[in-house]
């Protein structure tokens, strides 16, 4: 059952929506907003494995940390006391909307169904369930304030737009998602470069070893930890575990699949598959070129077929990407790029935006450290009638944000191979 099916059912069962809500163009009342926030949260791929907070505007999370030694011998003398360090996570939610335009002819088909309200609710649930929850999942993974480049047709998604020329993806530029946050200068997120290793057991252990010791002690900490990985990598891990000719190998082979799927643990830590986390995640970086001298990209190896270069200042005007060998020379194995020797459209010292896909990545942190905020006050659902066009717009709005309480408690693996280790 898809997200939208679940949402449609719940929307009607809960009485979130009625015909009056939809036909009058009315916004939701407070209770309905709360319900809708719950439903959107339920549709998140991350919902079960992050801390999702309903927030009402900018939201602060204050915390203290005790580092160093705090215990001292009680020998009857007065102590000067020791001060904890404090830190704060501020979520400043980003506004989003989805506009679904439906022709009357399509709505008429829906009206012939036994429960029109349910069908109409389903349309809105599609907008919420797919456009909001899934896109928010993606934004949390891939947003980058540098601005990813995207085909104009994919960005506009309304039948117009250039099929190959690229624009800056302003929707995914509002904040730094997981990957960009880990790559940013001064980031506290620890990175293990797997250097194309396919031994997931080794990679997952190295990630765990990178966590600060204080974060590893205690049974409760391990139960709270999660490995977040692309769906395909999760399958690779299962394949790897199945190779073990043990009870557990058999268990993974039989129970760990299909309808009766049970959670896979590694090293006592729950592994979470994120279907929207591509096996080859997208990254974007700006590099100031140095003529024909090769400049290193952040990742290697990379795929030439999904490598796009544009001027760093790319904006809303659809622009043809630079061409491999004509404008730049790409070495996919070493992960380097240089300006082509002659006839290049790239100036020797130009700043260039590179958008490409890399080998799989994995994140490890505590569920309680990973906060997603959905702003309830901004949950809106409205309809707008265009009598002249014979169409109705279904508009939904929300605001959301994410963050880590403490970035130093996040461990990441990069350049993991998308292959299953030969023997295990």
């Amino acid at each position: 059952m898809s997200n939208s099916d679940i949402l449609a059912r719940v929307l009607v069962q809960k009485g979130v929506l009625t015909d009056a809500d939809l036909s009058g163009g009315a916004t939701l009342n407070a209770a309905q907003r709360e319900d809708l926030a719950d439903l959107t949260i339920a549709a998140f791929g991350l919902a079960e494995h992050a801390t999702v907070e309903k927030i009402y505007d900018t939201w602060d999370y204050d915390s203290i940390e005790l580092t160093g030694r705090y215990a001292e011998l009680d020998n009857g003398t007065e102590s000067a006391g020791r001060k904890p360090s404090s830190y704060k996570l501020t979520l400043d939610p980003v506004p989003l909307k989805t506009v679904l335009t439906l022709q009357d002819s399509f709505l008429r088909k829906l009206a012939t169904k036994p429960i029109p309200e349910e069908q109409k609710a389903k349309i809105l649930a599609e907008a919420q369930g797919i456009a909001m929850a899934n896109d928010i999942d993606r934004m949390i993974l891939y947003s980058n304030t540098l601005g990813p480049s995207i085909k104009e047709a994919d960005f506009l998604n309304n039948g117009s737009g250039h099929a190959t020329n690229r624009v800056k993806d302003t929707t995914f530029s509002e904040f730094n998602g997981l990957i960009a946050a880990a790559d940013a200068s001064g980031s506290a997120i620890l990175t293990h470069d797997a250097a194309s290793s396919s031994d997931l057991g080794l990679v997952l252990r190295e990630m765990y070893k990178n966590l600060p010791p204080a974060y590893r002690t205690g049974k409760a900490n391990k139960q709270d930890l999660r490995y977040y990985m692309p769906s395909d990598l999760y399958e690779n891990l299962k394949s790897q575990l199945q190779k073990r000719q043990t009870h557990y190998g058999d268990w993974v082979l039989t129970k760990g699949q299909g309808e009766s799927e049970e959670a896979i643990f590694f090293n006592g830590i729950l592994c979470v598959e994120l279907p929207l986390f591509d096996i080859n995640p997208y990254v974007v970086e700006h590099i100031t070129m140095n003529g024909t001298t090769a400049k290193n990209l952040k990742y290697k190896p990379i795929s030439a077929s999904t490598f796009y270069a544009n001027a760093a200042a790319l904006g809303s005007t659809a622009t043809a990407p630079y061409v491999d060998t004509t404008d730049y020379v790409l070495n996919t194995t070493n992960g380097t790029v240089a300006v082509a020797a002659s006839g290049s459209a790239i100036g020797n010292t130009d700043s260039v935006k590179y958008m490409y896909q890399t080998l799989p990545q994995i994140f490890l942190t505590k569920k309680s450290n990973f906060i997603i905020g959905v702003s309830v006050n901004d949950m809106l659902m409205e309809t707008e009638r265009h009598a002249n066009k014979g169409a109705t717009d279904f508009v939904t709005r929300t605001r959301y944000s994410y963050g880590f309480v403490k970035a130093g408690w996040v461990s990441r693996a990069i350049n993991v191979a998308d292959t299953v280790i030969a023997s295990y």
Binding site: A182, D183, A184, S185, G186, S187, A188, I189, L190, T191, H192, D193, A194, A195, S197, E206, N210, E285, I287, K295, N296, L297, K298, Y299, K300, N334, G335, A407, G408, N415
Partner: protein
Amino acid sequence: MFKVTLTAGGPLSGPAYDRRYEPGVTYDYPESKRAYVESLSGRFEVVEVPDAKPAPAPAAKAPDAKAPAAGDKSVSKKAS
């Protein structure tokens, strides 16, 4: 001589690295490690330090110290 600084992301480790790199810390590498330094990803800033060694050569006081310095020089010449 090279100086290498991790400028992007948090602490970095892995089988391809000879150490765990902390962001902002500068690590020194000799010329013999050039291939390794060049293989580092774009997370690093690599600064080539000009050959400042031959200039402060007048370490005439201690002939012991002078001998290895000359030795180093010839080795690096051979390598290049």
